[in-house]
Structures are given as C-alpha cells and as structure tokens.
C-alpha cells in the first residue's frame, strides 16, 4: 500500500512541518468556529455553544500532535534526536568521554592497522590473471628444506609434464646499468621466454620475449619495469628499440611492463632472458632456478603436484646420484609467497581482537558506572512513556556515537602506525610496503566501530532500560540490589580483562625470550665492525680468470692500505644473505656420473681471518693457492662429518662443478673450518665446501672489510680505491655484517615488537579497569568503612580489605588467563626458539608482573579508603 509516492510525500510534509502545523491549528480553530456558529444557530447561548463545540471536537492539541506523526519518519526523527542528545551528553561528561575514546581509539586503531596489513599481504589476490592457477614447482631435499630446481630437471619437467599450460624458470640477478640516465645499480630477474605467457601480463609498450631469445646469442634483450622506465628513461614513449648496457654489455629494450605488474612481488627493475649453455645437462646437481607454472584449466594444483612428483620419481631412478634425495612438488604460488607469514600475521590479528575486546570491556564498565548516575533521567523518561526498546535504542545510539568518534581517532592512529610499519618493518614480508588506509580499511573501521558499540553498549543499555520506576523511588539512590548486581558485572568484566591481558603478555614474553635466545646464537663468524658490499665484474672487461685474479689482488692490496681497514676478504655468497649456491660433486675416485650436490662457497685467502671463523684442522687458503697451483678445498665441520665420517678429511679428493655449465674440477681438502649459520640463526648450519676465489675465477663476490674505525667512515675510502682500479665499477648493497645479521631476524623481531605493543596496551587498559572497579567498590562501601573505623578497626585493616578484594579479582583473572594461555600458546609454535610453549618462568614472571601492577593500581583507591573520615561517611547519603 505504501508506494514510493508515500515516502516522498512524507519527506515533503516533514520539510514543511512548521508551516503545516500552524495551518492545521488554523483549520482546527476554524472548524470549532463553524461548530460554535452552528450551535448558536440552534439556539444555544454563546459560551455554551463554544464549550459544546470544543467538547465535540475533542483534544485539539493532540489532534495536531497525531497529525504530525504522519509527517516524516518517526524513527528518523527519534534517531536524529538521540544523536543530538547523545552528543551533548558526551560533551558534558568530558572525563568519561576522554577515557572511553582513548581506550576505544587504541583498540580500533590497532585492529584497523592489522587489518590493513592482513588485507595487503594475505587477502589481496596476486596481481596476475587467474592467480589460483599459478603454482611454484620445487625440488625438496627432506632434511634441508625446499630448494631450487636444477636446469636439466626444469627442462625435463617442461617437456614431460601433462598438467601445465606452461612453466618458466627464473633467477635473480643484479647489474650495473648504464646508458639510461645516471649509471646505477639494478636488481632484476633472468627468466625463460614464456615468462609473460605463464604469468599472464601484457606489456604496456612493445612486446614480451619470444622463444628464440632464450638461446645464447639472441638473449641480449631487456623488458623494463614501469618503475625503471620512469626513473631512468623519463617515461620516454619511444624507448622500445633503444639500447642500454648491463655490466657494459649491450641490450636492446623490447618493451615496458605496466605499473601494476610485479614479479617477484617485492618488485624487479627489469627482466632479461635466461639462457642455458650447451652443457646444461651435465649440471643436474646444481639447483639454482625458481620455477613457476600455470596449470591447465580444470586441473587442480594437487593433481599437478602429483604429476611433477611422478616425474621426479623417474629422475630418481634414472639419475640416482644426483636426484636420489630430491622429491618434486608443486604448491600454489600464493602459499609459497605468504604461507610462511600467514600464521604469524593471523596471530597478531587475533591479539588485536583481544585488545579491542578488552577496550570494550573497559568502556562497558565505564557505562555501567555511569548508568547509576543516569538512573534518574532514565526513570523519568520511562515515566513519560518511553518503552524499554526506545530507551535501549537511545543508549545504543549514544554508544554508537562514542564508537564512531573513537573510530575516527583510531583511523588516524592506524595511519601513523602503518607508516611506521612500512618504514621500519621487515623487508621480507611480501607487499608489506603497500599497506595503508584505503577504502576497504575504512569500511572495516566503520563496521568495527558499530560492532564494538553493540558489544560494549548492549549490556549497560539493557540494564538501564530495565530500571523500574518504583525501585528508584524506593531506594535512596544507591545501595540498592541493582548496585550489587552492577558490581558483580563489573568485576566479571575486569576479570576477563585481566585474563585477556595475561594471555597476550604470556605470548609476548615467550617471543621476547625466544628472540633473546636467538640473538645469543653464535653465527659462526664475528660480524662486529665488518663492512660488506657486492662487486660484480662485467664479463666484457674481465673475461679470463687471470684478469679477475689480478683485480682482486690489486683491490685487496689497495684496501689494506686504507686507514681504518684491518683486513679484507671476499666471499660468494654472503652468509645470512638468503642466498645459497649449490653445485654437484663427486668424491675422489668415484666414476663420472656419480654426483650429489652440496652447498659451495668461494672465498679469498684473507676471508677466514677477517670474519674470525675458527680453523679446526689443517690450513686455510693462502697466497700459494693461485690459478695454476694444485686445486685445494676446505670443508666446514658438518661437510667433513657428512662426506668422510670417522675419517680424516685432510688429503681427501673431491670433484666440484665450479659454475653451472663448467666442468668439474678435482681438488684436495686441506683444512676444516667451523660451521657458519648460512641460512639463518634459527636453522642449523649446513654442510659447505669452500673453494679459493682465485682458482675458480669468480667475478661476482661480496667483499668483507674488517674496520678499526666505525664502518661507515671507511665507505668513501673503499669506493675511492675501487674507482682507482676501474672507474666504471660500482659497489652494490653496501651494508655492515651487523645489519645483515639483524636483518635475518627482522621478521621475528617485528612479531615480537608488535605482540609486545599489543600486550602493553592490553595490560594498561586492564589496570585502568581494575582501578575503576576498586574505586567504585570503595565509594559504594564508604558508609561501611566509616562504621568500621568508628568502631575501632585499624586503618591498615581497611587497606587490607580493599587490597584483598583487588587481589581476589586479579587472582581469578590470572587463573582463567593461565588456563586459556596453556591452550593458545601452541599457535606460537613456529615463532618460538628454544623456549617451551608452557615455559614456566615466563608464565610466573608475567603473572607476578600483572599481580604487582594491579595491586599498585588498586592502592590508590585503597589509600583513599584508609583516609575516610567516619563522621563524613556516616552522614553521607
């Protein structure tokens, strides 16, 4: 019956309500006039006529009131009125409002920030078409974690699989870029040609790679990223076809990718083709490729994984020495990228939910206390005809108002927090740098605000709405049974707050202990005062091993003459940098095709001394181990144990493949050195064999410089020496070993700090809650306390009484919290290091800390209770 026209008319009438109301008054007055006139005409005397007319008419005031009901929407008017009233009330009770808004803003802000992180890192789909069909293919050596793929395995997979539309392989690289703006250092990716076809990206300008560009001789083409195009090529629209130089070799630019294309997720400056040499099939033991594929439509990744696993099983039989220990598998690309960080981020999100619940409990407590003060107002409303529903609605509207104000402040806090996180957060959480306050995040904040208003407002609203008029009149305004019930409710809320903050604090405590233990792990070398940077000698100028050896010799000589430099060295790859290098080897005397693979490192003669790695047996490389000298190798402790268990490794022979595509060279083991935590302080050291830099002819290595001065002061000298040898060389990723070590644990540190922060906020809120409840209890019992003191009780006993009550609350809270934390700490498992889930010391320390601070918080009202003047108390109504 109510059509669209009705709504419009209602609105229209409402907009003119004042005018209409006065017109209606006139109409009614005229009506009564007419009736009066008619009565007079029938013979009634004048005043009687008017009285009769008025009586006949009924209540004219109510007529207008009831008419007004139809104008506008009653609920809308009531709503607007509630908002105005609520706002006025909040402004009046500034103390309450400030505390409540502060608590809620912290809770909502933390939640909003965490949601943004969660959304950006985990929830947002990958920036490729149909990302759920993308999978990472990897080869896994069970005891050593999942590693990269070897080129022959990749090529065979590509040829023999039945589940993939296409797969491509990639390997990271960095080069010195010249020929486009300022010479600079770029980080990029070498990829096989079907890279774009598999991922599904379209170039903004130009084209992607074609098949033949994957072969040696045709592979000097480059695909630019949007970022590089803007920064180094000034977004030149005719850049396609121009050339650039990478490590002084010429490449032709064939295209530019759009801004939203990112592979890998952390961003790449450019992509160039990956090509395999003719001897690629002899390198089955060298695992250095990352492989990604797109499954055929309708094929699940689990099925594809089985396909790959089957192929790998065949490889195991065909090539038992290289592939004997390797299994193949495919996992969704999303899993591979975020699978590691998801549990931790979900944990942090759970923690902030806990924090916001504690904040809600606090505000609910405050509202319950305030409820007492507003009893009179609410009882009057009820007397004037407001239904319970109407009163509840009004109170909930006030709660929503409070919530929305807090949410606005919370969003600001979240914005600052996110800026900090983006700047200081670990660089290895994918896409973290993109977290910010966007539309989704604002929507989340809004919904959260409304939800919290409901959570903390419902209970007090229901309680107030039930307030009976009679009860109020009967009671003196306090000390009624309602007061006791409120007190129980408030105590229950505080107990919940204490329990919640205990759980968070236990979690934070466990992470802090884990991190402390992790920091005490000896990395195997001394990172103090060590400067390190990457140097990459371009093939063009340094073709032969002799040239490279000449460079290193000269550079080290110059470096050691620098003031502030104690010793130097070079290593490839750098420990704790996240990079590894594995090659295939065969033990002395074994036939050619019996190979396995192991991690290799290439180091200079002074490396050991510079990094202070202990020499355990034999000797390290020295000046005599040059290019033409007999090949020597040094094994790490674990390598010696693995290759020659129970024997003396010195003098043993082992043949190593130096670089992918090169032939294997046999060397003699001359020494054993201590293990180094190459892949992270939390993981066990891996077996490693060192070969001398000079004998291998390596042009890409990390230089390590031990300095007597602070490392940063030596940087310019180091650079100057480099340029003195070859003015076109630059260093890359200049940093200190201390930074590298702390960078390797930055993720754990991040989680620890975040959880610690949340736990801190939670405990602060809980302490405020305890203070509030105890203060309230004291004010309730002022009369009783006065009587006790008047009857001779020592003041100290009053203090004890109050503190006992506080202790009771805290005790129950701690008990509940401990129970809950015993269950929940298993979620921390992956983040703990050498600390048990139920570590008793942490539990005890945290409980004691909470108990002590809670008692201190309760002391303030307790002292006040002590000082009650019995005369005043007894007179107090």
């Amino acid at each position: 019956m109510a059509g669209l026209g009705t709504y419009f008319r209602r609105l229209f009438y409402w907009s003119q309500r004042e005018q209409r109301a006065s017109e209606l008054h006139d109409e009614v007055a005229q009506h009564i006039e007419e009736k009066t006139a008619a009565n007079i005409a029938t013979g009634m005397p004048a005043h009687e006529a008017r009285q009769a007319a008025v009586r006949q008419f009924g209540n004219s005031l109510q007529v207008v009131e009831h008419s007004r009901d139809y104008w506008g929407f009653a609920w809308l008017e009531a709503f607007l009125h509630d908002i105005r009233f609520g706002a006025r009330l909040l402004l009046k009770s500034r103390g309450f409002t400030m505390v409540a808004v502060a608590a809620l803003a912290l809770g909502i802000g933390a939640n909003t920030a965490m949601f943004s992180v969660l959304n950006t890192v985990i929830l947002r789909p990958l920036p490729f078409p149909e990302p759920q069909r993308l999978a990472v293919l990897q080869e896994v050596w069970k005891d050593h974690g999942s590693w990269a793929v070897s080129p022959p395995d990749f090529l065979d997979w590509r040829q023999q699989n039945r589940s993939f539309d296409g797969i491509f392989a990639s390997n990271g690289g960095s080069w010195a870029l010249s020929g486009g703006g300022e010479p600079r250092h770029v980080e990029g990716l070498q990829v096989t040609p079907d890279f774009l076809k598999v991922l599904g990206g379209q170039p903004l300008l130009g084209r992607g790679f074609v098949e033949e560009e994957g072969q040696r001789g045709h592979d000097h083409v480059a695909l630019l990223s949007h970022r590089l195009w803007q920064q180094s090529f000034s977004a030149d629209p005719s850049v396609v076809g121009k050339t650039l130089h990478l490590d002084r070799e010429e490449y032709v630019i064939i295209g530019v990718m759009p801004a939203d294309f990112q592979y890998p997720l952390r961003g790449s400056d450019l992509w160039i083709p990956l090509s395999f040499g003719p001897k690629v099939y002899s390198q089955r033991g060298a695992h250095w490729l990352s492989v990604v594929g797109r499954v055929k439509p309708g094929v699940s990744i689990a099925q594809a994984s089985q396909d790959i696993a089957g192929l790998s099983r065949q490889f195991k039989q065909l090539f038992p020495n290289t592939n004997g220990k390797w299994d193949g598998e495919a996992i969704p690309l999303r899993e591979a990228l975020i699978g590691d960080v998801r549990p931790a981020l979900l944990l942090l999100f759970g923690a902030v939910v806990c924090v916001v619940l504690i904040a809600c409990a606090n505000v609910a407590n405050l509202l319950l206390a305030r409820g007492k003060l507003r009893e009179r107002e609410i009882a009057t409303r009820a007397a004037l005809g407001a239904s319970g529903l109407r009163i509840s609605r009004q109170l909930l509207t006030e709660s929503a108002l409070l919530s929305l104000m807090s949410a606005a402040l919370g969003v600001l806090l979240a914005r600052w927090g996110l800026q900090l996180i983006v700047k200081l957060g670990p660089k290895d959480i994918p896409r973290l740098s993109q977290a910010g306050v966007d539309g989704w995040v604002l929507l989340f904040a809004l919904c959260l605000a409304l939800l919290t208003a409901f959570v903390f407002g419902l209970l007090p609203a229901l309680r107030s709405a039930r307030s009976d008029l009679h009860d109020f009149i009967k009671s003196a305004g306090r000390g009624s049974t309602g007061g006791r019930e409120t007190h129980t409710l408030r105590s229950a809320l505080v107990i919940a707050e204490v329990a919640g903050s205990l759980v968070l604090l236990v979690g934070a405590g466990l992470l802090i202990r884990s991190f402390a233990r992790l920091q005490r792990v000896d990395p195997g070398f001394d990172p103090d005062h060590v400067l390190t940077f990457d140097i990459s000698l371009p093939d063009v100028a340094y073709k032969t091993s002799a040239q490279m050896q000449a460079f290193w010799d000269e550079y080290f000589r110059r470096l050691e003459s620098q003031p502030g430099v104690s010793s130097t060295g070079a290593i490839f790859p750098l420990p704790l940098s996240g990079d590894g290098f594995s090659g295939s080897y065969s033990l002395g005397g074994a036939p050619e095709d019996e190979e396995s693979s192991m991690q290799e490192r290439f180091a200079s003669a002074d490396y050991l001394r510079t990094m202070k790695i202990p020499l355990l047996r034999g000797r390290w490389f020295s000046a005599q181990d040059k290019l033409d000298a007999p090949r020597v190798l040094v094994a790490s402790e674990s390598a010696a144990r693995r290759l020659w268990p129970g024997q003396d490794p010195i003098g043993q022979k082992i043949a190593f493949g130096a670089r992918p595509g090169n032939e294997k060279v046999e060397g003699t083991v001359i020494g054993v050195v201590g293990d180094v935590h190459d892949f992270g302080l939390a993981r066990n050291p891996i077996a490693v064999v060192y070969a001398p830099l000079d004998q291998v002819g390596l042009g890409d290595a990390w230089v390590v410089v031990k300095t007597s001065l602070p490392p940063s002061q030596v940087i310019s000298g180091v650079r100057a020496q480099l340029r003195a040898i070859d003015p076109e060389l630059t260093d890359a990723q200049m940093t200190t070993m201390d930074a590298v070590v702390s960078g390797s644990v930055s993720q754990r540190q991040f989680y620890m700090l975040m959880l610690g922060l949340f736990a801190g906020v939670a405990i602060a809120l809980a302490l405020i809650g305890i203070y509030g409840v105890i203060a309230y209890a004291v004010s309730q019992r002022t009369q009783e306390i006065g009587i006790r003191i008047a009857l001779g009780a020592p003041r100290a006993s009053v203090l004890a009484m109050v503190l006992r009550e506080a202790l009771g609350l805290v005790g129950i809270g701690l008990g509940c919290g401990l129970l809950v934390s015993l269950f929940l700490t298993r979620t921390l498992e992956s983040l703990l290091f050498r600390v048990g889930q139920r570590d008793p010391m942490t539990l005890a320390l945290v409980s004691a800390a909470i108990a002590v601070t809670a008692l201190l918080a309760a002391c303030v009202p307790a002292m006040r209770a002590m000082r009650v003047d019995p005369m005043v108390a007894l007179r107090y109504e």
């Binding site: 109510a2 005229q30 009506h31 006139a37 006949q56 009924g58 009831h66 009901d69």
Partner: protein, 114 residues
C-alpha cells in the same frame, strides 16, 4: 503507557473512518467540518465521529495519495482547507468497500447461525 492513536479511540472498527471520509468526498470537495457534519447527519447521528480524529485521518489519506487539498472559502465565508478525492483515492474506496462488505457479510453469517 502505550501511545494512543487517534484511530484507536474512535468508536468504530479501525480503518472505517478512512473509508467513510473517502466516501463522503465522492460527493465533491469538502472541508473538515463539512465532512464531520455529513457523516453525522447521513448516519442519523448513530456515528458520532469525534471530530478531532478526522484531521489525523485526513493527513494519513493525503500522505497515501488518496486525497488532495487546497485552501478555499467555506459556505459560511470562513477560510478553510478543502479536501478532494484523487483517482487513486477512488480506486482505494472501491477496494475498501469490497473488503468491508465481505467483513459484514461474514459477521452476519456467524451471527445468524443458531
């Protein structure tokens, strides 16, 4: 204390006031007093409409779009608001009449059983 609607307090079946007003207006535009007079007279004073309750009902009818109004002069020379039926109002009257007849017939059937 529930709020009493004007309709609740009339002595008729709820909703019949609307119908009576609509029917009255089929005779042409009329002002509030005139409508009250008409209902009273034609029903032989049986239906004592509380005249005040007309006005909220008239507002309701206007909001629904069944009645529209304009200012004019009454037969006695006073300024009054005149209400008249709209096309939808006529249609609605037909619907209400049908429903009312059905209701009365049903009550009658129940009452006439032995």
């Amino acid at each position: 204390m529930a709020r009493n609607r004007a309709a609740d307090r009339s002595d008729m079946l709820p909703g019949t006031l609307d119908m009576l007003i609509l029917k009255t207006l089929t005779r042409g535009p009329q002002h509030g007093y005139g409508i009250a007079q008409f209902i009273q007279q034609i029903s032989d004073d049986v239906l004592q409409v509380e005249e005040g309750s007309l006005y909220p009902a008239l507002q309701r009818l206007q909001i629904q779009g069944w009645v529209k109004s304009h200012w004019g002069t009454s037969p006695t020379g006073r300024r009054a608001r005149f209400y008249e039926l709209t096309a939808e109002g006529r249609k609605q009257l037909g619907i209400e009449e049908t429903n009312f007849d059905r209701l009365i017939a049903a009550i009658g059937r129940v009452m006439r059983t032995v």
